[in-house]
Symmetry: C2
Subunit: 765 residues, 2 copies
């Protein structure tokens, strides 16, 4: 393994700030490195019961009956929950932030009612005096199944003779509405320009089909939930989640309870990556708590995490692109069929948005298909849907560049999306950093370093993610020692406590260490959406910024009282309150804080935001690999991740996101997959067999932060959490081609696939 | 025992409200009645150590040496803390909200350094793997004492030859500054008019001396504290306290830490009554946690509570009053000498404020003395200092009425304080309800009911308390189901969660049940002073009112967006937002809350207040008793408590305060005392021997809420938590006189004292 020296690098730096852009120690660091931080599994309470879940052994079956009598009779068992415990008919359509969804789908994925649609689907929950008794009781629940044939991939699911998961679905494999049931939950098409005209203008046209496997987010901490359905009718839930308020909403819908009857306490979270947006155990624990009157704690095993929670979809993608001899892309067409898993809702929409978003292409058609299959309902995974799409599109882009004999970066630069580029899904790019990103890659020493030796190759790829804004709220109160307390509702996964604190600190002219952030429960802060969509530093940061502005304004009013002048005559300049007219009048933030008692009540600021000025994000990779043609093993020699952060609030955590996303992309590219057996089950449901990259598999991931300020945020922030996962599979595929001359059109490109491709090529040659 | 039917009664009702004045169920009820509420003793954490305190066996001694070697060597002992562990010299003067105090006094009362000043004073803390090992280690701490003579009462302490507690004190028994040390910490004098002229105008003058014993607040839950001095330098404290922020301030001073390095989490509190304003265990647990790196939990035993925390002072009081033959009081003089306990700071100042505050008296002199003695440092106890003073003054008032042949209520009415009455301590009464209170007593069926039979008597008395305002902060956020979450920092002792919620609900036009209140830690809300001084429903309620106003204003802005009209055109009328000009435009709070997503970011309101419009409080009692002249036992036949609440937010909890205060006053009157032995120790340090009244000792306490609205609060609220304790001892003393013809000039009027007085009278007669 080769490592390169780690030199964090920020190019195209924007405005200079006092706090923003520095690297203070994160506030939650001590608790996390000493083991003091409390995760869901640490929860304890008097009278705690423990719950376990009975899961389906069949990929597709009708449930004829569930008899829990024997389980309930086992000494130590306190309650059993099944879908019969959901209140009401459950036939309404609800929205938990993902658009209109039949409530039945949401409930069935928590506790199946009439059918099971994947191996591992939850059927019943048991609460007992300890986890062992609960586990034993599972084997005493008698479920009578009528086993049905199953289907495990989007292409198979779209076949006319495929087993049907949901009888009510009526969209055929061409996307037309149909009289017969199908597994196509949705078809949509984006059209820009005239695709036929575009391909006619092209001198070279390539078309290629790709397949990607189902992969999992691979967070270390399994899902967990403790529920206490209190005697006063309020439900308290402690869990590991990316969003306490979204859990509140989902549980509210699933259990038909008003949101105000639910309090969600977000414990510390051991990774999520999109996989902890959904609820699985929470409603089951709630029902068991309601039945027993005790708090009930439930923890998943790793097998349950793999089989019972949402991975990211496998997909079938076809890309067709045309280019003129002088290198201008004239037309691009994409066909994206993503596995939704058991219930509708794959991220194919986001995949369609992202597939060509890096390029200025006048004629585009994109067809998206959301296909249900007998696998776990997919969930979000870091830039959901974009990585599959970029793997396909960036491979074809690379093929075109090669055919044209152009440098792959020059080719991308020539076709790069710019301000004014219209995307096929509608929006027009503005204030984007795509060109600056590609130029940073082009000028990077890595791209210009020699790479010699047999079976070695260098690949590049770029990717796009659009991010989201959404709602966030913060309050800030001032301590008389000149520090402030920041209350916020965003689960801190990647250092956002410090990133939010820094934005408040910048406004107030105080050090980040003088801001004390706390993530609180849903009772104790205004509505705040999940930590996802690369939105936390952006939107909750903005709420912190606005709450600090509210504090600043009140502090100025207090200074005006103390100085007996008008507030308009006072400004806050780098932490010093000053009269604009009288140079004698000045006080630091700390000095004024100490005197607040003289000038009125305590200072408390508040803000909530729902920002629209989201800055889209681009990232690119340069990767050098060496392939062992005998074994198919790919060794990464050097890896550089480049990303436009808008403005990096805390560069270390931006770099951390880039490195983490890169590594996940590498795992997806080279090793990870749900290895499905003939019964529709996953054979590799341990972390030993589900082969995520470890530090021993990787070089240092070099990072370059490009800063093209986002005018839609006070400090220019763009979301940084996701786009880094998008380019790695494509960059590695392109490097593989340069190394050994084979283009793999499938993920993972594991040793078996690489060896086979090399052998096929040798046999053809 | 006779009981009377319980008929809550509100007279002189003020403005009608929708929510204020109703009786919704308290939000914390379910948790408290099911045992789910978490008190300090319930705290658990990984790696928890347990602490115990070594306490002084001597009432007064010099500490010559402390050797902790043997204790530290005991297996299982993890650390020992002594005063040597306090940082720095500790010679500064600090203010923790009680005025300038030598830091040494505060520290010595937590861990004694050079001297112990009372039996039970803390000397060392031990942390061990369990409480038993910690307790065993206490006996292995070798303390070498030089025992000194001790002094246990204010009169003894003021003698010229008294043992001296603090060599630096220099005020003599006449209140003059002196060259020789004394135990008089402070002397002050209030003068109004011309006292000599006043007594000259009087036709009748009485003078009487009174003594009252030390009594304890008698809260059920002992003091407790868990501290975690985290690796990042932040100190977390879980404790039972009336004020999380004041604990933060006190620990900050005692440990010389910035307040922002301390987080105090107020657990539920099992009673305080003023006794949980101070810190005892918190700094010790903190030091032990710092030394061990583990959380350390400490709980007091009942003996430690009695011996090691602050009771309310014993006192010597002299009252002299003059009256004309037509019943007008012309002059009043008071001498108040209160025991401070080991360190200065008895509530004699408040006693002096209250002693004559019920009456309009033109000529007044009040002398107050704060005297240190070898007893625990006194703490606040419900209307601190006022009960002792009222016992004395109201006895003399009763003597005057009797001498004049006037009805005691008519006499009080004739002399009652009115708007414009100047108090000897300075302020002039305004908007007070003293006359209305006395009139309510006069017209009450109890006062007009016959009372026949031997050894029976009816007594009356009234009392005054001035209350406080102080700082409070709240935030409120709106849920989309039309409910709101209220975040506040006031420990809920007597139902203030619901009382604050009701004030917010009134503003928003929603039910109290639709407000969900949470008491949070010092990191998560703006500064909020303690729950004391009858201020919580008043001041934190006001903060809730103002935060609701902030919410209302934002909701109106959202409605304006939805309706496309100006905010000025919208009003909130009993929970319905309405256009002032277009009758078609109306939405309930719930309807608008559900549509907030269409109109912007989440709605979060905030407020902090430091209100000055405190409304003073008056209370009165009518009590019927029967005395057993053989045993001296006093049986209360009927008891009516009348109080001006300004406006009762939640009448049930106002009545609860009145009943609780009455019962505490009855215990103080008839039984409770620190029974001190010759060594300066307390002999009755269990709840069995420290004889608080139980339900079997008492009739139902009838209550009458008088409402003379306080113009200094949005809903007219006056503080209600304290004044009810003030009149009972005087009312009982006056009833005793009517029953058996003896006036007791001491508290408690226990069977021994009553028997002795009856016998003395019989022997004289």
């Amino acid at each position: 393994m080769t490592t390169t020296e780690y030199e964090p690098n920020v190019v195209l730096a924007t405005k200079k700030f006092d706090v923003v852009g520095t690297r203070p120690i994160r506030h939650d660091g001590a608790d996390k490195v000493t083991g003091r931080a409390l995760y869901g599994a640490d929860f304890e309470a008097a009278g705690l019961f423990h719950g376990k879940v009975l899961r389906s052994p069949h990929a597709h079956a009708r449930i004829k009956s569930i008899d829990t009598t024997r389980a309930e009779a086992l000494p130590g068992v306190k309650a059993v929950a099944t879908a019969r415990d959901f209140p009401g008919a459950g036939d309404e359509v609800v929205d938990i932030g993902e658009g209109a969804t039949p409530l039945k789908y949401l409930r069935d994925n928590v506790l199946a009612s009439d059918k099971v649609l994947y191996i591992g689907q939850a059927i019943a929950g048991v609460a007992a005096i300890n986890p062992h008794v609960a586990e034993e009781a599972l084997s005493l629940i008698d479920v009578e199944y009528e086993v049905l044939p199953s289907v495990l991939s989007a292409p198979d699911g779209m076949k006319t003779d495929a087993p049907i998961l949901h009888e009510a679905m009526r969209t055929d494999e061409l996307g037309e509405s149909s009289d017969r049931p199908s597994n196509v939950a949705q078809h949509f098409q984006h059209v820009l320009g005239d695709i036929d005209k575009g391909f006619k203008e092209a001198d070279i046209v390539f078309e290629q089909e790709f397949n990607t496997a189902t992969v999992h987010q691979g967070y270390i901490e399994p899902q967990n939930a403790t529920a206490l359905w209190n005697n006063d009718g309020r439900l308290h839930i402690w869990c590991s989640t990316q969003g306490a308020f979204p859990v509140r909403t989902a549980v509210s819908k699933i259990l038909s309870l008003p949101v105000s009857k639910i309090r969600v306490i977000p414990m510390e979270i051991g990774g999520g990556f999109g996989g902890k947006l959904n609820v699985y155990l929470e409603p089951v624990a709630a029902i068991l708590s309601k039945k027993t009157g005790h708090p009930v704690k439930m923890l998943m095993s790793r097998k349950e995490v793999f089989e019972g929670t949402g991975p990211t979809p496998g997909s079938r993608i076809k890309i067709k692109m045309g280019v003129t001899n002088d290198g201008k892309i004239t037309a691009a067409q994409a066909y994206l069929a993503y596995e939704a898993g058991a219930y509708p809702g794959s991220p194919v929409g986001a995949g369609a948005t992202c597939v060509f978003a890096c390029y200025d292409i006048p004629n585009v058609v994109i067809d998206g298909f959301d296909v249900v299959v007998n696998k776990p309902k997919t969930a979000a995974y870091r830039a959901p849907g974009a990585t599959n799409a970029a793997f396909a599109a960036e491979t074809v882009v690379d093929m075109l560049a090669e055919k044209l004999g152009m440098d792959p970066i020059e080719f991308r630069l020539l076709n790069a999306a710019r301000d004014g580029t219209r995307r096929a899904d509608g929006p027009t790019h503005s204030d984007i950093g795509c060109v600056q990103l590609i130029e940073a890659m082009k000028s990077h020493p890595h791209y210009n370093a020699p790479l010699e030796g047999p079976n070695r190759g260098r690949g590049v790829a770029i990717g796009f993610w659009m991010n989201i804004g959404f709602k966030s709220s913060c309050t800030i109160s001032v301590n008389n020692d000149g520090t402030v307390n920041l209350v916020e509702g965003s689960t801190d996964i990647g250092g956002t406590r410090v990133a939010l604190s820094m934005q408040a600190a910048e406004v107030l002219g105080i050090p980040a260490e003088d801001v004390n952030p706390t993530v609180v429960d849903t009772d104790s802060v205004g509505y705040t959406d999940f930590t996802a969509g690369s939105r936390t530093a952006f939107a909750t940061g903005w709420a912190a910024y606005e709450a600090a502005q509210d504090v600043k304004e009140q502090m100025i009013q207090r200074a005006a009282i103390l100085w007996e002048i008008e507030p308009d005559n006072i400004e806050l300049d780098h932490g010093v309150f000053k009269s604009k007219s009288d140079p004698e009048l000045k006080m630091t933030f700390k000095e004024l804080a100490a005197r607040l008692d003289e000038a009125g009540s305590p200072v408390v600021g508040r803000a909530s935001v729902d920002p629209k000025g989201v800055g889209v994000a681009f990232a690119g990779n340069i990767v050098d690999i060496e392939v062992d043609p005998e074994t198919g093993k790919v060794t990464i020699l050097r890896f550089t991740s480049v990303q436009d952060a808008g403005k990096a609030i805390h560069p270390s955590y931006v770099e951390g996101q880039m490195q983490g996303g890169s590594v996940q992309g590498i795992g997806w590219a080279l090793n990870e997959e749900y290895y499905m057996n003939q019964n529709g089950g996953m054979d590799n449901f341990s972390l030993l067999d589900y082969r995520m990259p470890t530090s021993l598999d990787l070089p240092m991931i070099d990072t370059v932060i490009v800063e093209v300020a986002n005018p839609g945020h006070p400090f220019g922030v763009r979301g940084v959490g996701e786009v880094s996962i998008v380019p790695p599979p494509a960059a590695l595929a392109n490097a593989l081609y340069r190394a050994v001359g084979v283009r793999l059109n499938q993920l993972p490109m594991n040793p078996v696939a690489v060896t086979k491709a090399v052998w096929d090529k040798q046999n053809q040659g």
